[in-house]
Every structure is written in structure tokens, then in C-alpha cells.
């Protein structure tokens, strides 16, 4: 590829990214629907969080389960600075928000440095517990600051909701990680993940790599936090509990550790999933709920058995058999559920979608993990090349069979 062509693709992708952000913004604000606007913005934030954690966890292999702490540091530090200087500084809102993002990023990066330090000495679960502990320490310290509102919360002065800025950040984060991976520096990160000692022997500066991963990951989370703080204009420590860290970690692994596109996909999906029952509301009787739960359990078991035992060379036949068995089972589960409804207690107790939406999330999570433990995309990146390769491989497989 010639230099001009590379430059061309670069410029094109930058233009496309910016166009995407503003297009999204125009689309969303055209809707005038507060809820959709909010979902789009939150999804952008979660994508940033999961991609940045993926850099630490998936790409560098440092087991960090305290990402909410960086998010929190970003939100609070940007908020505190904004409250102090926004009125006296000359910049208008969008330009100021970029500054604010940087402030959040810098403070979170410092936090990342502090957490990254122990990672030089600690490994695996010991590191995990330190990051978790760090998150709790930060939260408890903020909880005890009455000047920051304590448990009630902290109001942040300029309220600024910008979908385009949030998604721009997400895209910058994705681009940074992607370019890092494609560059020679990125190989160092992967080497540290695969084998620290071998990497060291090859001359990789393990210390530097780990700390850089923590700093960069934390900085993006902090920038996201700054935007989140200004978007909500009121934050409290409850927003940054360790459940948030677990959720983001889940996004990373579900998408496939190390896969950036996977993180994006899982970040958006996992965030939207519990919101769906708000949009499509339904009611379920107890009998139906129980039989569907059991049905899903059997479904997972059956599909695992298929994976282990059923090696039909004919692709079409195999697909049909698997799909048929699954649908049959699903229908059976529903029929059993309807029958169960005839038992008085089972039929009359109903739950609406709101009450089971987190159970749905948990079940989906378990099903995906049990059927595809490497995550949705495995270690692969989603790209058209990859799709083509997979298809070709399958064709080749058929031909040889």
C-alpha cells in the first residue's frame, strides 16, 4: 500500500468517525425522545468503559476489577473543577467540555498510575483484589466528604448533554486501542499478556507496559466519567459501586477478552438488554416463567451435548437438526408452562417485565458464557476479512469432507 493510500484511508476514517458522531447526534436530537437520547449517550459511555478496561484486562492481561473507581475519579474531579472555574473561564460549553474531559482523564490517569504500581509486584487474583479495594477506598473517601455532598450527591454546574462528544470519545478510545494493537508497541502488550517472563526475555519493558496500560485505560474511563458527570449534572457515590465494575468486566469478557470490537458489541448489548423490557413490556405467569427457566437450562445442556457428540459432516443437515431440536424444545417449554398455569398458584401469580429484567440479563449472560466461553467474538476482531476467512474455512471444510 502506498503512503498516499494509507493517508487516504486514515483521513477517510477520521472523517467518517466525525460524520458518524454528528449524524448520530442529529438523528437522536431529531427524535425529541428523552429516553432514546439517554440510552444512546449511556451506551456510548459503557462502550468507552468496556474498551478501556479491555486494554488493561484483555490486551495486557492485568486482572483489574475496579474500573468504576477511575470512572468515579473522572466524574468527581471534573465536577469539582467545573464548579470552581466554569463561571470565571472564557470558553463556551463544547470547548470547555473538552477541557473538562482532559481534567477527568488526567486525574483518573494519576489514579491509574497509583493502582498500576502494585501491578508490578502482584499477579492475578491478588492484583484483582487490590483494584477492587482501591475502588472501595475511593468510594468510601468520597462518601465521607460533606463538601462533596457525601452520600446524597454532588451537583455539577454546567449541565451538558452531548451525544456526539460521548461517541467521539468512544471512537477515539477504540481508535487508540486499535492503533496501539497494530503498532509495534501493541505487540509488547500482547506479549505481557501471553507470558511475562518470555516477554521480558525478549526485551519488552514489562514494568512500563503494564503501567502504561493502566494509565491509558484509566484516562479513558476518567474522561467518560467527566462526560457522565456533566451529563447527569448530579452524581453520587452510589453510581460507582463495585457492581458497575463487575458489569464492565462482564462486558469485556462477554465480547471476548482482547477483542476491541467484541467489547464494543458487548458493551452496547449488555447495557441495552435490561432496558429492553421497559420498551417491550410483557407479563409472565409463574408457571410459564418456571418452565421457561428450566427449558433454557435444558437448552444449554442439549446444545453442549450437540457440540461434544454430534459431528454431522453435512452442514445443512446439522444446522436443521440443531435448529429443529432447539425450536422443538422451546415449544415444549411453553406448552409445559401453559399446562402449569392450570395449577392455581402458578397461573394467577404474574410478573411484569420490569420485575424480571435483571433475571433476563443473568440468564443471557450464563447462556452465552456456557455455550461460547471465549466470548462472543473470541479473541478475534470483527472485520470483513475475518468474516470472509471464516466463510472460506467452512467452505474448505465442506470440500474436504
Amino acid at each position: 500500500m502506498s503512503l498516499s493510500k494509507i493517508l487516504g484511508t486514515r483521513v477517510l476514517s477520521v472523517v467518517l468517525a466525525i460524520a458518524f458522531c454528528f449524524g448520530l447526534d442529529a438523528f437522536v436530537t431529531g427524535q425529541l425522545n428523552e429516553y432514546v437520547v439517554r440510552l444512546v449517550m449511556l451506551a456510548g459511555l459503557y462502550v468507552t468503559l468496556s474498551v478501556s478496561l479491555n486494554l488493561i484486562n484483555g490486551i495486557t492481561g492485568q486482572f483489574s476489577i475496579g474500573h468504576a473507581a477511575f470512572y468515579m475519579v473522572g466524574a468527581y474531579s471534573a465536577g469539582i473543577v467545573s464548579n470552581a472555574i466554569y463561571k470565571t473561564q472564557p470558553l463556551a460549553a463544547p470547548a470547555y467540555m473538552i477541557i473538562s474531559m482532559l481534567i477527568g482523564a488526567v486525574f483518573a490517569a494519576i489514579a491509574g498510575l497509583i493502582v498500576g504500581m502494585p501491578s508490578l509486584r502482584l499477579k492475578g487474583d491478588y492484583l484483582a483484589i487490590v483494584t477492587l479495594g482501591f475502588g472501595e477506598i475511593i468510594r468510601i473517601i468520597v462518601l465521607n466528604q460533606n463538601q462533596w455532598g457525601g452520600s446524597y450527591g454532588y451537583a455539577i454546574a454546567p449541565k451538558y448533554q452531548a451525544g456526539w462528544l460521548i461517541w467521539l470519545l468512544a471512537i477515539i478510545c477504540i481508535a487508540t486501542c486499535r492503533n496501539l494493537l497494530k503498532s509495534a508497541h501493541g505487540l509488547a502488550f500482547l506479549a505481557v499478556r501471553e507470558d511475562e517472563i518470555a516477554a521480558q526475555a525478549m526485551g519488552v519493558n514489562v514494568t512500563k507496559t503494564k503501567v502504561v496500560a493502566f494509565i491509558v485505560g484509566a484516562a479513558f474511563a476518567g474522561a467518560a466519567g467527566a462526560l457522565f458527570g456533566h451529563m447527569e449534572s448530579f452524581i453520587n457515590p452510589d453510581l460507582f459501586k463495585m457492581e458497575v465494575s463487575f458489569l464492565v468486566l462482564t462486558m469485556v469478557v462477554l465480547g471476548g477478552s482482547g477483542s476491541i470490537t467484541g467489547s464494543v458489541l458487548a458493551g452496547a448489548t449488555l447495557f441495552i438488554l435490561p432496558e429492553l423490557p421497559r420498551i417491550v413490556s410483557f407479563k409472565m405467569s409463574l408457571g410459564l416463567l418456571l418452565s421457561v427457566l428450566v427449558g433454557i437450562g435444558v437448552l444449554v445442556w442439549m446444545n453442549r451435548k450437540f457440540m461434544e457428540k454430534y459431528h454431522e459432516p453435512d452442514k445443512l443437515k446439522r444446522t436443521l437438526v440443531v435448529a429443529g431440536a432447539n425450536i422443538g424444545l422451546a415449544v415444549l417449554a411453553v406448552v409445559v408452562g401453559k399446562l402449569l398455569n392450570n395449577i392455581p398458584q402458578f397461573g394467577t401469580t404474574t410478573y411484569d417485565a420490569n420485575k424480571i429484567r435483571y433475571m433476563i440479563l443473568a440468564v443471557v449472560l450464563l447462556v452465552i458464557m456456557l455455550l461460547k466461553p471465549t466470548g462472543l467474538l473470541g479473541h478475534h476482531e470483527f472485520s470483513w476479512d475475518w468474516v470472509k476467512r471464516v466463510l472460506n474455512r467452512n467452505k474448505a471444510g465442506e470440500a474436504s469432507a
Binding site: Y35, V36, N236, L239, L299, N354, K372
Partner: protein, 413 residues
């Protein structure tokens, strides 16, 4: 394909077919409106069609669920009663429910979702932290919000005539208990604060301020976070200060075990006191003999001989398989919904247009509404009803009315 993508896809297919099959035959399945919004930002919603939509945000999931489901049941009871009586001006009211999952962020999402469905008024949350987030949506959209159990004083400040509540505030509750404690002859009081709950920190603060102003002494303040089970460390510190009374401003889930542990450490004399977070049928079970003889501040009392209370409890029982509300939020949720419906009735009677702006004005003009939790007046009060507060004594089988305080009388002290 050994990596499971096929199985995953098949599974998704199965679940999809499951939901379709279940959906098309299940008579309980309720369709939903798609949110096509017509209201412009800041002006609230217009009402069209033959139902009047009111939004309700409660915690149907998460740690606050016990309070959330009570509030929901209370509000639904109000909806049922209004609709059974013919609705409002010939129109039915419809309560749309959003789940906040006990999280501020999701509470805001739920409120935004409700706003996008053109509710003309919102009711919600039982917790101050989540209410604060819902408030920002209400202000942006110009939709009136009636908070249920958010007692933090800041909630109604800068409310632009939209934000009100049906409970009293910590500014009343704390001082009431301070005056009560002082009148009981207590002079050295220790405080146990739930650091995680804004409700508790606010209540402890107002209690301490008033109690000191009266001339009492706060000998210790110790902290815990809701979810803890063992408080012996904090309580030993309290014990070493020899308090006459202990003010526990948290929720009953922690207060009950704490009371037991207070007695286990040998503090038999200290009088236990608290706020409305104590109110639950489970308090005596978790607190045991230790909590008996304690006092707390409440909105109403089950045993009260008032028509509203009796009618409410009877109707609630009939509507909920014979169960009484587990916490005080049943009555408050009912009152909040009723205040909104009552305002709608007045709008309909005056044949004014039913929209958010008029509803907000009408809610703020509520005068002497006979609620279960006492008479509610929002006119000229910036959204904080001047309610009386009851102090009740915990006894083995019931909460017994001890003393009633009017706001004016407490503030004058």
C-alpha cells in the same frame, strides 16, 4: 463449527420462538405504546386519548425493593379506586410504572422513558438519592413530580413549582425526635448513622442540631453502611460514653439487629429512638425484645382511629391477598397517587385542560387533603407539606401512639 456460534444462534432462535409463542397466546401479555413524543422540551405533556397517564418510578428490583413494591401496591390501589369510581371526568387514569432498580442512574432512565410516553405527572421514589435524579428529568420536561418517601430537605428546593412530596422532611423528623428525647429527660444521646443512605445522614444531622440547641449533649456518633450485620465495634464505643439514649437513623433492616446487639452488650437502660425508616411489620421480629420500648417518628399509625387509615388498610388488604403493607411506603405511595388524582379531579371539575402545567399548579394548590398519613397541604409551602409527626412506641404486638407534634410547635422550641 466447534466454537459454539451455531449453538448460540440456535439458542437465540429458540428463545425468540419461545417468546413469540408465549406472547401470541398468553392473555396476560400486555402490548405497549411506542414512545412517539409530541411535547416540546420544558412545556410538559398534553393529554390526548381517553386515558390520563401518570408515571410512577419505584424500585422493583434491588435493595430498596421492599419499599418499592409497597409504594407500587399503594399507588395501584389508588388507581383502582379512582377507576372503579368512574375515573376522572369520564377518563380512566393509567399508572405507568418504571423500575429504578434501586440505582439513581436507572431511576433517571425510567423517568426519561415515562416522560417519552407523555405522562402528565410523575410520582416517585422512596429514596432521596434517586428522587434527585428523577427531579432533573421532571424539571427539563416540565412535568410535576410528587415524591413519595424522599425526606431530604433539598429535594423541593429550586423546584420551579413542579416538585412536591407527601412525606414530611428530615427538617421536621429530626427535630421532633430531638424534642421528644429532651422532653423525656434524656440529656446524653449517641447517634448511629447509616453512612450510605442520604436519608440517614440527613436525619442524624437535623437531630443533632436540634438536640444540641435544646441543651442536650451528643456524646458519640458512629457510622455503619447498610448491608452490615455486626455492629459490636461501633456499639462498644457508644457504650463507653454511657448514653441515656441512642438515636438510630437508619432503616429497620439494620436497626433491628443493632437493637439486639445493643442489649447483648449490656446497655439495658438506653432508650432507642429513630425515624420513619423503622416502620415495618418486621421490626419487632428482627429487633426482638430489645427494640420493644423504643420510639420512632412516623407518618401515621396502623392502630390510629381515623377513617382514612382504617379504610386504607382494609382496601389494601383486600387488594393484596390479605397482606398489610410491610413498610410505611404503602400509605405514602397511596397518598402521593391520591394527591395527584385529587388534583386531576379538581382540574376536571373546573373543566380546565388536563396538561402538565395545569396539573402542577393544581397539585401545588392542594389544601387539607385528608391523606392516610395525615392532612396534606401543599399550598404556599413550596412543595413541603406541613404535616404533623407522630411519635410511636414499639411494643411487642403493635406500634402504640405516644405523642403527636405539629411542625410549628417543634420549630418554636
Amino acid at each position: 463449527m466447534k466454537n459454539g456460534l451455531l449453538q448460540l444462534a440456535a439458542c437465540a432462535l429458540a428463545v425468540a420462538s419461545m417468546s413469540m409463542f408465549a406472547g401470541c397466546k398468553d392473555d396476560a401479555a400486555g402490548g405497549n405504546t411506542t414512545g412517539t413524543s409530541t411535547g416540546t422540551a420544558g412545556s410538559g405533556s398534553e393529554q390526548s386519548g381517553d386515558t390520563i397517564k401518570i408515571g410512577l418510578v419505584v424500585s422493583q428490583n434491588g435493595e430498596l425493593r421492599p419499599w418499592g413494591v409497597d409504594c407500587e401496591a399503594g399507588a395501584k390501589l389508588a388507581e383502582k379506586q379512582i377507576n372503579d369510581a368512574g375515573g376522572i371526568g369520564g377518563k380512566k387514569v393509567e399508572l405507568l410504572i418504571g423500575d429504578s432498580n434501586s440505582k439513581p442512574e436507572e431511576g433517571k432512565s425510567a423517568a426519561a422513558k415515562l416522560a417519552s410516553e407523555n405522562v402528565i405527572g410523575m410520582i416517585g421514589e422512596v429514596s432521596s438519592g434517586i428522587t434527585k435524579q428523577i427531579k432533573t428529568v421532571a424539571l427539563e420536561k416540565g412535568i410535576p413530580l410528587v415524591a413519595v418517601g424522599a425526606t431530604n430537605p433539598e429535594i423541593t428546593q429550586e423546584g420551579q413549582g413542579l416538585i412536591s412530596r407527601v412525606c414530611y422532611t428530615d427538617d421536621l423528623q429530626g427535630p421532633v425526635m430531638a424534642v421528644f428525647a429532651y422532653d423525656k429527660g434524656l440529656r446524653k444521646v449517641a447517634i448511629m448513622t447509616d453512612q450510605k443512605q442520604p436519608y440517614s445522614t440527613g436525619l442524624s444531622k437535623t437531630f443533632a442540631e436540634k438536640f444540641k440547641a435544646l441543651g442536650g449533649q451528643i456524646v458519640a456518633e458512629e457510622f455503619y453502611q447498610s448491608g452490615e450485620n455486626q455492629f459490636s465495634g461501633q456499639l462498644t464505643r457508644v457504650k463507653s460514653k454511657n448514653p441515656d439514649g441512642i438515636f438510630m437513623s437508619g432503616y429497620f433492616t439494620e436497626v433491628g439487629p443493632m437493637a439486639r446487639q445493643i442489649r447483648q452488650l449490656g446497655m439495658d437502660k438506653a432508650v432507642l429512638m429513630g425515624g420513619d425508616g423503622w416502620d415495618s411489620s418486621d421490626l419487632v421480629s428482627s429487633g426482638g425484645d430489645a427494640i420493644v420500648g423504643g420510639y420512632f417518628c412516623n407518618h401515621y399509625n396502623d392502630a390510629e382511629d381515623r377513617k382514612e387509615v382504617k379504610d386504607f388498610l382494609e382496601a389494601f388488604k383486600a387488594n393484596n391477598n390479605g397482606n398489610l403493607p410491610g413498610t410505611t411506603m404503602g400509605a405514602l405511595g397511596y397518598d402521593a397517587a391520591m394527591v395527584v388524582f385529587d388534583s386531576l379531579k379538581r382540574l376536571a371539575a373546573a373543566s380546565k385542560e388536563i396538561n402538565s402545567k395545569n396539573l402542577a399548579e393544581e397539585i401545588m394548590a392542594t389544601e387539607n387533603y385528608p391523606g392516610v398519613s395525615g392532612s396534606i397541604t401543599l399550598k404556599g409551602t413550596h412543595g413541603d407539606p406541613a404535616k404533623r409527626a407522630l411519635v410511636v412506641e414499639v411494643q411487642k404486638t403493635a406500634f402504640v401512639f405516644n405523642k403527636a407534634y405539629e411542625a410549628s410547635e417543634v420549630m418554636a422550641r
